[in-house]
């Protein structure tokens, strides 16, 4: 993933994870980050900390939880853990125009299958089309993954046999949704449709595109990203390394290295269309017109006919025996 210049201040000396401004310790391995370089003062043996405002001696005040001047009350700032709200730093470009999104909706409505109303495509009326950049994280990392699992490979009297292993995995350009506006099904359908290199700090898109704000702080974001790495590791270990056709008790432990994270705006269209007296929603990727997910009506007449046909066939089979 090369999503532009890294905004990290430096990297951790132990696990090479990107260190951001305000980090006292690495988020992955907890190694202390180097102190900010300040003008070197001559080292004095006895130091009296003085207030910048009035020159009186400063003492640590437990009520203010900071050094405070007892004379003028001003509080001295000491570097602590910064935990700001996440803010977007990379917006992907829209490569699908609004007209193409509308056309894509029509194509999608026409290809939903026989159980849908026959006139769905003709009678559906577009009621709203809103381009948005929805919030998510893109990360990449390497991890040494230790795993254990039970599987049916090699089982004897019991249904399961134990297995273990250790492998290096690369996580490249994985997306973790941070949106409140899209459902998990919608984001799951969209994540594979993006080219993370097609973007910049501001993004290009249609007029009036809404930019969703992140609503979590950095510490919570990191927990979600690391949890996502664990989940992906478990899936990949189950699919690629655990032998056999069935497995259970898949346990993994990760030593993550070189974690880099970008706060992304991911382009999509949210469409509302009306069929008869109900409004339905569909979401289309802003970079892949063919990636559509949404809700659509069913034809209850067709469903009833199908159910009747199946019941009739079953009855005939039973009577013929």
């Amino acid at each position: 993933m090369t999503v532009g210049e890294s905004t990290a201040a430096s990297t951790c000396a132990r696990c090479h994870t990107a260190i951001e401004a305000g980090d006292l310790r690495c988020a992955v391995c907890a190694q202390a980050t180097p102190a900010r370089q300040s003008a070197r003062e001559e080292r004095r043996e006895v130091v009296v900390v003085r207030c910048d405002g009035c020159g009186a001696a400063v003492r640590y005040d437990e009520r203010a939880q900071a050094p405070r001047c007892a004379f003028c009350g001003s509080v001295t700032h000491v570097e602590g853990v910064t935990d700001p709200m996440e803010a977007m730093d990379w917006q992907l470009h829209f490569t699908v125009a609004p007209e193409a999104a509308q056309a894509s909706l029509q194509t999608w409505l026409g290809g939903l299958g026989w159980l849908r109303p026959s006139d769905l495509r003709q009678r559906a009326r577009l009621e709203g089309l809103q381009p948005i950049w929805w919030a998510g994280w893109a990360f990449r990392a390497r991890a040494l993954v230790s795993w254990t699992a039970d599987s049916n490979a090699g089982s004897r009297r019991a249904d399961w046999a134990p297995h273990a292993g250790q492998t290096e995995l690369d996580f490249d350009a994985l997306l973790v949704p941070a949106t409140r506006g899209l459902s998990s099904d919608e984001t799951h359908a969209l994540v594979g449709s993006y080219d993370l290199e097609r973007g910049d700090a501001r993004g290009q898109g249609p007029e009036g595109a809404f930019v969703e704000q992140f609503d979590v702080q950095r510490s919570a974001a990191r927990q979600q990203i690391i949890a996502a790495a664990h989940a992906v590791a478990r899936q990949r270990v189950t699919a690629e390394h655990v032998p056999g056709t069935r497995s259970r008790h898949v346990r993994t432990e990760l030593v993550i290295r070189g974690l880099e994270t970008r706060r992304c705006g991911l382009p999509a269209y949210i469409l509302a269309y009306r069929y008869r007296d109900r409004v339905y929603r569909a979401v289309i990727s802003g970079q892949h017109a063919g990636r559509v997910i949404g809700s659509a009506p069913y034809s209850w007449i067709k469903i009833s006919l199908l159910a009747a046909a199946v019941a009739t066939a079953a009855l005939l089979l039973l009577t013929m025996r």
Partner: protein, 322 residues
């Protein structure tokens, strides 16, 4: 009595002599007065102008510069209230004199400790138990003497050998760097909320007693390794697959080890409940308010409780007999 004997006496373990500490004389930056400073202390308050001073000594391997500080949150009154409540409620078998005792000497201190971190690797082996069901038939005789054939399901365990490699980060292991407070006493008032860590700055300890490390780095490294290995065993037990396991063996290796010196806030109280006995030291976490100390138990209360329990058992047994 040396000027630092108050703190040293308070922190001395029962039965051990107080070490006589050589002091140094430094000049106060506020008024130029001569300050008596023990090598074990990082801060001092001038007795003439009350200016709080921090002593910045050149860093050595066993006395590195602190990296972090956790600031005090509880003031003296709140810490004392927590301690008094703990005296009353800590243990129902505590001596009555202890529960009613008043707090004697009170001191606050920034205790030196190390945050230990590493990458833990382990080659492990174990026997993994996989359960399976066995259905068996058996014959039995009913009340009328008729033979009946019945079936029952029994759970058996198949044991399979497993070996592998495990790796994980060891994070946030806190070990004491002070001879005055053993590791077990520090653990009794943990955890500290490390999200409140601040980069060390003399202003963070100004006006408060702050101690220099008195345990060498190698000693602290060993303490950190012991805790990391105990935690590693716990992780490995949860990591094993199967329905059960036994015979877990592992060969640990701790790599990329790091020790960061952190100053932790503690309130220390002395409680004298019996003039014939040593005062009891009570430690209060200066950030969270958690209290710990060794509670003197009353043998009479324990004996009465056991007698009451026995009496209840006998009464229940006698009442249940037809």
């Amino acid at each position: 009595m040396p000027p630092t004997a108050g703190w040293a006496t308070l922190c001395a373990l029962p039965g051990r002599d107080v070490e006589v500490i050589e002091t140094r004389t430094l000049e106060c930056e506020g008024c130029g007065a001569a300050l008596q400073v023990a090598p074990s202390e990082r801060t001092v308050v001038c007795p003439y102008c009350a200016a709080p001073s921090t002593i910045e000594r050149p860093a050595t391997r066993d006395r590195p510069d602190p990296t972090f500080t956790v600031g005090f949150v509880l003031d003296r009154e709140r810490a004392a209230e927590r301690a008094r409540r703990w005296l009353r409620t800590s243990n129902p078998f505590a001596r009555s004199a202890f529960r009613a005792a008043t707090l004697d000497a009170t001191r606050s201190v920034y205790l030196p400790a190390y945050l230990y971190g590493a990458v833990a690797h382990a080659d492990y082996s174990a026997s993994i138990g996989e359960h399976y069901q066995v259905v068996e038939t058996y014959t039995t005789t009913d009340a009328r003497g008729r033979t009946q054939v019945r079936r029952r399901t029994r759970t058996e365990t198949e044991w399979r050998a497993l070996s592998g490699r495990y790796a994980s980060y060891v994070r946030d292991v806190v070990v004491t760097a002070s001879r005055a407070l053993p590791n077990a006493e520090l653990h009794a008032v943990e955890p500290f909320d490390l999200r409140a860590l601040r980069r060390y700055d003399p202003a963070m300890v100004s006006g408060w007693t702050s101690e220099e490390p008195s345990l060498g780095q190698q000693e602290c490294l060993e303490l950190g390794r012991q805790e990391a290995q105990a935690s590693l065993e716990h992780e490995l037990r949860r990591f094993m697959p199967g329905d059960t396991h036994r015979g877990l063996r592992y060969q640990p290796s701790l790599q990329d080890e790091v020790l960061d010196l952190v100053l932790l806030p503690l309130w220390i109280f002395a409680v004298r409940y019996d003039t014939a006995k040593e005062p009891v030291r009570i430690v209060v976490n200066g950030q969270t308010g958690k209290v710990a100390g060794k509670v003197p138990l009353s043998p009479i209360k324990i004996g009465l409780a056991i007698a009451l329990l026995l009496a209840l058992v006998v009464a229940f047994y006698l009442g249940a007999k037809p």
